[in-house]
């Protein structure tokens, strides 16, 4: 995308984001008015589940975040990086970007911290800066999403969910390297 289309796209999406929620609310409320729904009673009925859902998430999120927090504090990541660098350099991933790829599924704020540091060091418009920014945007924090989504309904046995999520994350990281090599050289 050249600059013109990028900014047009950005403006369009931002306008969309700003108006999406008010538009949804207006549509929902007008339909309710038209169908003579007792909106206040129904709203309160639905809303009261909010508390239980949030409370149900707690044990799952504690389990996941504690394990990830301990892992980050232990310094094991640096050893993993040393071990994996020869492999990832084969696919053209710079050594600096590997911590971003490894941290992405574990912690959103942790990844953002690494990306920010790298951009401060190499500059946001360097290849490393562009690549790691892309990597940050290319997937979600898999373990967090897993804990919250499955935790909210009390699912303990996650079957192949972690595997599918991590395969997706890996594909996202590799795709980021590929597309950045093509677009930013």
């Amino acid at each position: 995308m050249n600059n013109g289309t990028t900014s047009a796209f950005v403006n369009f999406m931002q306008a969309f984001s700003v108006y999406a929620i008010p538009v949804i609310l207006i549509v929902v409320l007008f339909v309710a008015l038209f169908k003579k729904i007792k909106v206040y009673e129904i709203f309160v009925d639905g809303a009261k589940e909010g508390f239980q859902v949030a409370i149900r998430v707690i044990p799952y999120l504690v389990a996941i975040l504690v394990a990830i927090g301990m892992f980050r504090a232990s310094g094991a990541m640096e050893y993993l990086i040393k071990f994996l660098t020869p492999i990832t350099s084969l696919v053209g991933m710079p050594a600096e970007a590997l911590p971003v790829a490894l941290m992405r599924p574990l912690s959103g704020s942790g990844t953002l911290g690494i990306v920010t540091e790298l951009m401060q060091e190499h500059g946001p418009d360097s290849f490393i800066g562009r690549l790691t920014s892309t990597m940050f945007g290319s997937t979600e924090t898999t373990f967090y999403v897993l804990a919250v989504y499955f935790g909210s309904v009390g699912i303990k046995r996650t079957r192949h969910a972690v595997a599918a999520g991590l395969i997706g994350d890996t594909a996202g990281m590799l795709a980021a390297v590929l597309i950045c090599r093509i677009v930013f050289g």
């Binding site: 929902v28 169908k35 504690v62 301990m70 310094g75 997937t139 996650t158 999520g165 594909a171 795709a175």
Partner: protein, 210 residues
């Protein structure tokens, strides 16, 4: 699998913590992150209540059914176990669109609502169904149109063009999402994963009754 990952993360942390002399910070991190987890969960209460209330009104008005009907062909392919035009499909669609628009505050409550509706179809309340795994895959590798957080940091660091990573992020996140969903679809066919599908129980029970 999560049992092994969890055990692995904890043991590696403790062992490496001991080797590198970081043991104190490892245990400090455990306590700190337990607190963070509770803060995050409690922070969901208000926004969850709001969106669950609005969604209930939308449901009563028949809007969720209409959305479910709109994406019937795609839903049939991704979620063959879900009955036609089930409200879970409408909720999932709204979650996905909210994610695309970067409306994180709305996306999570809508997604959890969808998860709850999928759970109603689940005969075993503690084991994920195929549909729930696929929906999770869509969310763990969700397509991002504008990664606003990282763009904000690029702007702050005086990037010449903070937005230039949008097209590359769309590409990479689309690949991630398709791969995650495909992986979920393929993995669910493996015999030892197929066998654990809670939806099997339903058919087995049905067969017993006959």
């Amino acid at each position: 699998m999560l049992n092994y990952i969890w055990l692995g993360l904890m043991l590696i942390s403790l062992i490496f913590g001991a080797i590198t002399g970081n043991l104190q910070s490892v245990t400090d991190a455990a306590i700190e992150y337990a607190g963070i987890a509770v803060d995050i969960s409690l922070g969901l209460i208000g926004i969850m209540a709001f969106w669950l209330g609005i969604m209930k009104i939308a449901e009563k008005g028949g809007l969720i059914k209409i959305i479910s009907r709109l994406i019937r062909p795609l839903a049939k392919f991704l979620f063959p176990d879900i009955p036609k035009d089930h409200p879970a499909i409408g909720s999932m669609m709204m979650n996905v669109v909210a994610n695309w628009l970067g409306l994180g505050n709305a996306a999570t409550p809508l997604g959890l609502k969808a998860m709850e509706e999928l759970q109603e179809l689940n005969p075993d309340k503690e084991t994920a169904t195929n549909a729930q795994v696929i929906f999770l895959a869509i969310n763990t590798a969700s397509i991002t149109f504008i990664p606003m957080t990282v763009i904000a940091i690029r702007t702050e660091l005086n990037s010449m063009n903070p937005f230039e990573i949008i097209s590359t992020a769309i590409f990479a996140s689309t690949i991630a999402c398709f791969t995650a969903v495909t992986a979920a679809k393929l993995l669910q066919r493996l015999p030892w994963i197929k066998k654990t599908n809670p939806m099997n129980m339903k058919t087995v029970k049905g067969a017993d009754n006959e």
